[in-house]
């Protein structure tokens, strides 16, 4: 069994008296490509914020790279891509190069300056996502899909061991979604980057993921794409259907 990259033991999380996650247990072993699916409001983004340390669980234990999250020091091992195509300030006057460089800031540390080798690292990350032609364009002048590639490059520039992506393909056209998954697949296979991907495109995701997890307040399914595809409609409606009845059913 390979080393676990993320471990969650009995996680409970409440937002102002509203229980969001109940008894979530799960593990991502190294090298997996895990797809996280579930209905809107099911708690996917919340789960990711817990892993990133933006929120703290009420109960339970989170480990990153086998270290309890409170003691985990190597944030640069985690690359995060959020749903930026929608939320980021499109007018921000920065070039692709400048945006990708911000990925290195924390790793370099305080009182250190970018050297030539760092610039080469930034360009290499931009090349990996096929955006070298746009390296010195303002990010605001790019299409949504191109911007998303830039954010992947920002995560890649640290050579992360785990990439977490929260609905990265919202607003990206079909052809580019496919190219996007191919890029993730390549990074997963060639560089052994463990992937955790939140998405509503279950169709295309099942082609690339090695594991699929369904989350609706608690984990409803954890298996491989074949098992997921063979789920009956009844099972699926249980996951996606009405969260209220699901909770009632459990209680």
């Amino acid at each position: 069994m390979s080393e676990p990259i993320v471990t969650m033991n009995n996680i409970n999380f409440t937002y102002e008296n509203k229980p969001i996650l109940k008894k979530v247990n799960f593990e991502i072993p190294k090298g997996k490509f895990m797809g996280l699916v579930g209905p809107n409001g099911g708690g996917k983004t919340t789960l990711i914020k817990l892993i990133l340390g933006l929120l703290k669980p009420d109960e339970g234990e989170i480990k990153l790279f086998n270290t309890p999250i409170e003691k985990f020091q190597h944030r640069e091992k985690i690359g995060f891509v959020s749903q930026k195509a929608n939320s980021f300030n499109a007018g921000f006057p920065a070039t692709v190069f400048e945006v990708v460089s911000t990925g290195l800031t924390a790793k370099l540390g305080y009182f250190k300056f970018m050297k030539k080798s760092h610039r080469e690292q930034v360009l290499a990350a931009i090349e990996m996502v096929d955006m070298l032609d746009y390296a010195f364009e303002n990010i605001g002048n790019l299409s949504g899909g191109q911007q998303q590639r830039v954010f992947i490059a920002r995560a890649l520039v640290n050579e992360p061991e785990l990439m977490i992506l929260d609905e990265p393909t919202v607003g990206v056209d079909q052809g580019n979604v496919k190219r996007f998954y191919e890029l993730l697949d390549k990074l997963n296979k060639e560089q052994q980057i463990t992937m955790l991907l939140v998405t509503h495109d279950t169709g295309i995701m099942t082609e690339y993921a090695t594991d699929i997890v369904c989350l609706n307040r608690t984990l409803h399914f954890h298996g491989n794409p074949e098992e997921y595809s063979s789920l009956s409609d009844e099972d699926l409606s249980l996951f996606y259907g009405h969260p209220v009845t699901t909770i009632a059913h459990e209680a």
């Binding site: 995060f80 006057p93 920065a94 190069f97 911000t102």
Partner: protein, 282 residues
């Protein structure tokens, strides 16, 4: 035309101070504009006014002479920390901090000014700037602020830029965003205090934002925008001070109007480039 500025000490100090603030005001202004904090600069300038009024009052009451710039600076720094505290108290209504601090600043100013027996020419200079107000002591204080600001921005450039571009990402990657932000706000308050003698309380935020607004239209990337803003800031300050002196107008007014002119030119330039491109494509 520049001869007077070389000949007379007081003009020389004004001119040199102008050159310094023409650099640091737009330098910080670039971060202020992209982080949408322009109004914070405005409220801090009013708190600085309260500090200056306090200084003038103490001068009058205690018959001591010290530069009110010091009390202005102290109030500005305290105000900047106050804004941050309020922003964390009203997490979902962060902009509330601005009117609270601004009105406190104006309220205190009114009280201090009346205790000090009303308006005088000194105060007028603090409101709109003055070409004859910079003493050697003031200049040395402003020069120290210049060194501190440029030094800290150089050292923390990458953190400040990362924070400005994407605060959430900066936090996740482990940057101490709260501390960096506080450092930034304190620097802003120092720059405001330094700029007040030349441009005045009411126009200081204009010198921090107008050159940036102009540069933003025509630059590629953040660094280029920063350098262009400084260039525009310098042009505004130099032409503004010299013309203000010869026309006997407070330099705050002339500096800001030059900055407005540059802004209009940059908007026009972008428009005309756009329409020629469209014509070419058609």
């Amino acid at each position: 035309m520049i001869a007077d500025f070389i000949q007379y000490d007081f003009l020389r100090y004004t001119f040199l101070t102008g050159i310094l603030i023409g650099i640091i005001a737009p330098l910080l202004g670039t971060f202020i504009v992209v982080r949408r904090l322009s109004l914070i600069a405005d409220s801090l300038s009013h708190v600085t006014l309260a500090g200056i009024a306090f200084g003038l009052m103490m001068e009058k009451l205690l018959l001591i002479t010290f530069s009110p710039l010091y009390s202005g600076m102290a109030f500005s720094v305290i105000g900047s920390i106050g804004i941050e505290k309020l922003r964390s108290v009203y997490k979902n209504y962060q902009e509330l901090a601005i009117p609270i601090i601004l009105s406190t600043g104006v309220g205190l100013s009114v009280i201090f000014i009346s205790v000090a027996n009303g308006f005088n020419t000194d105060l007028f200079g603090y409101l709109f700037g003055s070409v004859s107000a910079v003493s050697q002591n003031d200049f040395l204080l402003i020069f120290s602020i210049f060194i501190i600001v440029v030094g800290i921005i150089t050292i923390f450039y990458k953190e400040l830029f990362t924070l400005s571009f994407d605060e959430e990402h900066a936090t996740i990657s482990g940057i101490h965003t709260k501390r960096i932000h506080l450092l930034f706000i304190v620097l802003t308050s120092l720059v405001i205090a330094a700029s007040i003698r030349i441009v005045g309380v009411l126009l200081v935020s204009a010198l921090m934002t107008l050159p940036v607004a102009a540069a933003m239209r025509i630059s590629k990337g953040f660094k280029q925008m920063m350098l262009l803003s400084i260039l525009f800031g310098e042009i505004s300050v130099i032409i503004g001070i010299v013309s203000g002196y010869y026309l006997s107008i407070p330099p705050g007014g002339t500096i800001v109007m030059i900055a407005v002119t540059i802004l209009l030119l940059s908007i026009g330039y972008k428009r005309s480039r756009k329409s020629t491109n469209e014509m070419r494509e058609a």
